[in-house]
């Protein structure tokens, strides 16, 4: 925590000095810092509010039944539906997965969700199909979906005591 604060202080100081002496690379970093922070600020607060609501309203049994140890194939359907509608990217999918983990989702489902949230998001897929072509999108889905389920189940086998939580 303290180390991060020092690091962040140094970073902000560097940006300030760069601005003062018109150090171009520093100014470029400043611009990319502002634009990336802004793209996070637009999404992350909403995501955490929805996660908070999920925490208090959704019963543990519901998640456990559909995504827990005894869950059936239909569990994958829920995980993919949730992944496709996740906004942002990993930085939203990770806290969402942590929320699912608290409610008893099993490890294989968590990793499947994470992987799916990176590659099946609806707005992104529409952009892809429009600009690169629907054939490209179909190949990507057909090849990657079974593989990411396999990889996720392998992760669950490799890390039997896996626990997910915001640390720090």
């Amino acid at each position: 925590m303290k180390r991060n604060l020092v690091l962040f202080g140094l970073f902000v100081g560097f940006l300030g000095v760069s601005w003062g002496v018109q150090f171009q690379p520093g100014i470029a970093i400043f611009h990319s810092f502002v634009s990336f922070s802004w793209s996070l600020i637009k999404v992350v607060p909403c995501a955490f509010i929805i996660i908070g609501l999920f925490d208090v309203w959704i019963k543990r049994e519901t998640v456990e039944k559909h995504l827990g140890e005894g869950s059936k194939m239909l569990g994958y359907f829920w995980v993919f539906a949730l992944a496709a509608t996740t906004v942002g990217g990993l930085f939203v999918a990770l806290p969402v997965a942590a929320a699912l983990a608290r409610k008893g989702a099993r490890t294989g489902m968590l990793f499947t969700y994470l992987a799916a949230a990176t590659i099946t998001r609806v707005p992104m897929t529409i952009f892809e199909a429009t600009f690169v072509g629907i054939k490209f999108t179909i190949i990507r889905f057909v090849v990657s979906l079974p593989l990411l389920i396999l990889a996720s189940e392998a992760m669950a086998k490799l890390f039997p005591h896996f626990q997910m939580q915001e640390k720090e």
């Binding site: 970073f11 690169v132 990507r140």
Partner: protein
């Protein structure tokens, strides 16, 4: 993006009407979880801020336009892994590159790793998953992305047995 605000707003209002105490608790939980992970978010933002100006889209475009497709695929997967770009920039860029003759398999390697592999978001991922699971997840994602790229190459007749 607006949909996200509308959904969040509706959920909050419905939740408040149903049970104000519970909703207050939800907001408290949201803040607590956010505050706990904020340092990792900060690290990620710094990493992105420093690295992204080093690999601007023009540089990526030039690097992917290499003659050798295998080399292009390798470079594409590396650039995709360390870069971060929203879909509304990455895919139009990919469309332009395709029209300039860059193979589909190179585009595939770049865009798939861009989405699945996150070197810059690793500090955040590590906090949630732990170092080893996070590393392995990224490694497996890289392998899957390369496989997708190769099969894309076959499907578009860019490589043959």
């Amino acid at each position: 993006m607006i949909v996200l605000y509308i959904v969040t707003g509706i959920l909050l209002v419905v939740s408040w009407k149903a049970n104000a105490t519970k909703t207050r608790k939800a907001l408290k939980i949201a803040w607590k979880r956010f505050a706990r992970i904020l340092p990792a978010f900060g690290l990620m933002v710094m990493a992105v801020a420093i690295v992204l100006p080093l690999i601007p889209p023009e540089f990526i475009a030039r690097s992917l336009g290499m003659n050798n497709r295998w080399l292009g695929m390798t470079v594409g997967s590396l650039l995709g892994s360390i870069s971060m770009m929203p879909g509304f920039i990455a895919y139009p860029l990919s469309g332009i590159l395709l029209s300039q003759g860059v193979p589909y398999m190179v585009i595939s390697a770049f865009t798939t790793t861009l989405m699945m592999v996150g070197v810059l978001s690793f500090p955040l991922e590590k906090q949630y998953l732990g170092t080893r699971p996070a590393l392995l997840r990224n490694l497996m994602s890289l392998l899957i992305a390369l496989l997708v790229a190769v099969i894309t190459g076959f499907a578009f007749g860019e490589i043959a047995l």
